[in-house]
């Protein structure tokens, strides 16, 4: 069974069942929810993961988190796994005692799980035995308490006033920077506010002369605790928070959240609403890629012409979104059972005209980049992520496809109406910055082609089914193909109108964790090209 060879969910289910029959307590395959679920005994998670990775060729652990049940004094660990061209998600759950829980870490088997386990330690206090570098990831290192536990008191005031007054830097004191530095090496901190980092995260680099020896990304500078806030708000009130998840693509956060709640409550969505959502998603993908193109070019050369041409095209698309939803950036447009309001008349013609305009300008972008000697010299063969490393390390979306792996949720698990639209998935071979540019521009053309097909086939009909949020017992997990990669949300519903636990996994979170693998051995001046090519959206990473 190679990595990309399609396989039916039942064979996977049976293969796993008879391999691990002794440790599996419960196992079920739920067809309408596209889910294979196992409840296993926690001690064998490492062998379970190793089997999935080596024999079954699963591509990466999509998400690792925990749910806190204080009444029966237990924490439930939830693992999601994904296989290319296998439409069902594999969810593995097991219980762990609540006071100082400890679990075997699968980071050795799958380096992609490294950051998820650090985050679960940060938020729940679950100690992962054998984890290479178990530190807090989102909260400051000297934070006390684990916020996502139910009994976490929120008024414990972290001493940020003291920090502000005396420029006290916890890192120097705690000495996590105590990395062995030989005489020719130097530690450089590229601070949270820096033009090339496209957002507020810190990159600590160990430089030997001009080559980078090692790199440690440090995130959490806009961590807002969305998952904790979501537990206090009703289902409709969480909607405005989801479009501030990834601000460049807020429609994707909205549609994913609404689809998750519809899956939880079993609400049917009329066909026209599905068409409107697909068109909005694909337009949002074009906007996000154009934004990345502009920011990346501005990164490679200040005041470069290509810094502003894509942003000009993006203005046309923002006007379209303003006509459709009422806001330029934060839409809150989908509602339970459909969308807030129907398409305004004359909107579809305007969309067609805008897409023709963008298509007319794409060859101009190619002239300025592919046939521009300076761009080719800066990006060819820079920041290479080979195919096997990309799978192991958990790169997502365009970064994964640029390394040659043809994985796209729109094809593996067709949601909305992607099933009956024909489009291909662009991939590239050698996984360097130049390939990532090619993959993203090709994706713009594919999205234009998708929107055109959807506009022809859009049916008339009502745009929203009668549906109200109600308290539902159960859990659900939904995933879509966001512009930065595979995007997953997992919710546990209890008797109340508010979600008991809402877990959000963002693709850019994993793409940032691949930065050290690209930077090792790269040249110091290539930092801008490599970091820029990942298309990082920090609000989605820090949640």
């Amino acid at each position: 069974m190679s990595l990309e060879e399609p396989i039916s969910p039942n064979d996977v289910f049976n293969a796993i069942k008879n391999k691990f029959s002794n440790i599996i307590k419960e196992s079920e395959i739920v067809d309408d929810k596209h889910l294979i679920q196992f409840k296993i005994d926690g001690k064998h998670i490492v062998s379970f993961a190793a089997f999935l990775k080596d024999e079954m060729h699963f591509i990466y652990p999509l998400h690792i988190t925990a749910v806190d049940y204080p009444e029966d004094n237990e924490l439930e660990m939830v693992y999601h796994f994904v296989k290319v061209n296998m439409p069902y998600l594999v969810r593995v759950k097991f219980r762990v005692p609540r006071d100082n829980p400890s679990v075997d870490s699968i980071a050795k088997v799958w380096p992609a799980a490294n950051w998820f386990e650090r985050e679960t330690y940060d938020m729940f206090g679950v100690k992962f035995r054998g984890h290479p570098d178990l530190r807090r990831i989102l909260l400051p290192q000297d934070w006390v308490g684990h916020p996502l536990r139910k009994d976490y008191k929120m008024d414990e005031d972290y001493h940020w006033e003291k920090q502000v007054k005396e420029y006290y830097n916890p890192y120097e004191e705690k000495g996590w920077l105590g990395v062995p530095v030989s005489d020719t090496e130097m530690i450089i901190q590229i601070g949270p506010q820096h033009p090339t980092l496209h957002g507020t995260w810190k990159l600590v680099i160990k430089v030997d002369g001009d080559t980078i020896v090692d790199a440690w990304p440090d995130i959490g500078f806009i961590h807002r605790g969305i998952e904790k806030l979501a537990e206090q708000k009703r289902y409709e009130q969480i909607l405005p928070m989801t479009d501030r998840l990834c601000y460049a693509t807020s429609m994707e956060g909205n549609v994913l959240y609404i689809q998750l709640i519809e899956k939880l409550m079993g609400i049917e969505v009329p066909l026209r609403a599905q068409y409107i959502r697909t068109i909005a998603l694909e337009l949002q993908r074009i906007t996000s890629h154009l934004l990345w193109l502009g920011a990346y070019m501005g990164d490679l050369g200040t005041y470069h012409a290509m810094f502003l041409y894509p942003l000009r095209e993006r203005e046309y698309l923002l006007d379209l979104f303003e006509m459709l939803t009422g806001a330029r950036l934060t839409y809150t447009y989908p509602r339970l059972g459909g969308v807030k309001a129907d398409i305004p008349d004359g909107w579809l013609e305007k969309v067609k005209k805008t897409l023709d305009h963008i298509e007319k300008h794409l060859p101009e972008y190619h002239d300025m980049t592919i046939s521009n000697e300076a761009f080719v010299m800066r990006t060819k063969g820079v920041g290479v992520l080979p195919k096997e490393v990309a799978a192991k390390v958990g790169a997502r979306g365009p970064v994964l496809r640029a390394s040659g792996i043809k994985h796209d949720t729109r094809k593996t698990e067709p949601y909305l109406i992607y099933g009956d639209l024909d489009f291909e998935i662009p991939t590239c071979k050698d996984g360097d910055c130049f390939c990532r540019y090619l993959v993203r521009v090709e994706e713009i053309m594919q999205s234009i082609n998708i929107v055109r097909q959807a506009i022809e086939k859009i049916p008339s009909g009502e745009y929203r089914a009668k549906a109200r949020a109600k308290a539902v017992e159960g859990e659900a997990s939904a995933r879509i193909e966001a512009s930065r990669g595979e995007y997953l949300m997992y919710v546990v519903g209890r008797k109340k109108i508010q979600p008991y636990r809402l877990a959000i996994e963002s693709p850019a979170y994993m793409n940032i964790s691949t930065v050290p693998y690209m930077l090792r051995g790269a040249r110091y001046a290539d930092l801008a090209a490599i970091v820029g090519s990942i298309d990082v959206c920090m609000a989605e990473v820090d949640r």
Binding site: L139, P140, P147, Y152, M154, Y158, W160, Q163, V164, Y167, Y168, N169, G191, P192, Q193, P195, H198, G199, T200, G220, F221, I222, H223, R224, G225, I226, K228, L229, Q232, P240, M241, R244, Y247, A248, S250, L291, G294, A295, L308, L311, R312, R314, E315, L318, R328, L329, T330, M538, A539
Partner: protein
Amino acid sequence: MVKEESPKVDNVILTTVRGVIRKLTGWLFDWARGHSPWYLHLGIMCCALEIPMAVGAPRFDMERWGIFPPASPRQADLMVVNGPVNKKYARNIKILYDQMPEPKYVVALGECAISGGPWKGSYAVIEGVDKIIPVDFYISGCPPRPEVFLDFLNKLKKLTKQRKV
């Protein structure tokens, strides 16, 4: 010490001359400060896509008001905070604020910077930038339209007169 001469005459001449100079330079300095606000953008969250990016883009061009985005805080005099400030990032904002030379203004842009916006009540977010650095102007909007920032730049001269720094 020539004391007996009429001190009033000297004072009158001195004060009028000094008054004229102060008036002229006052008007000139305000005009200069109003017309070349070099801004230091922090680019924290969604407002970063509206104010520095969309406003710098060809459609709403902020360079028409003379904004030249310098790279280092040493040469900036308008600090635009455009996102939520969380407890891990507070220290960096204070350092950047102190590095900027003296006639400087802080613009709290968008709901997150004014009052923590949608994240009020979260354990990690500080409610409003004015808890860390003195804020001169509040611009509401989530995110505010690019025209609002252009409106602000247009009125910057009058606003700086009221806010004597």
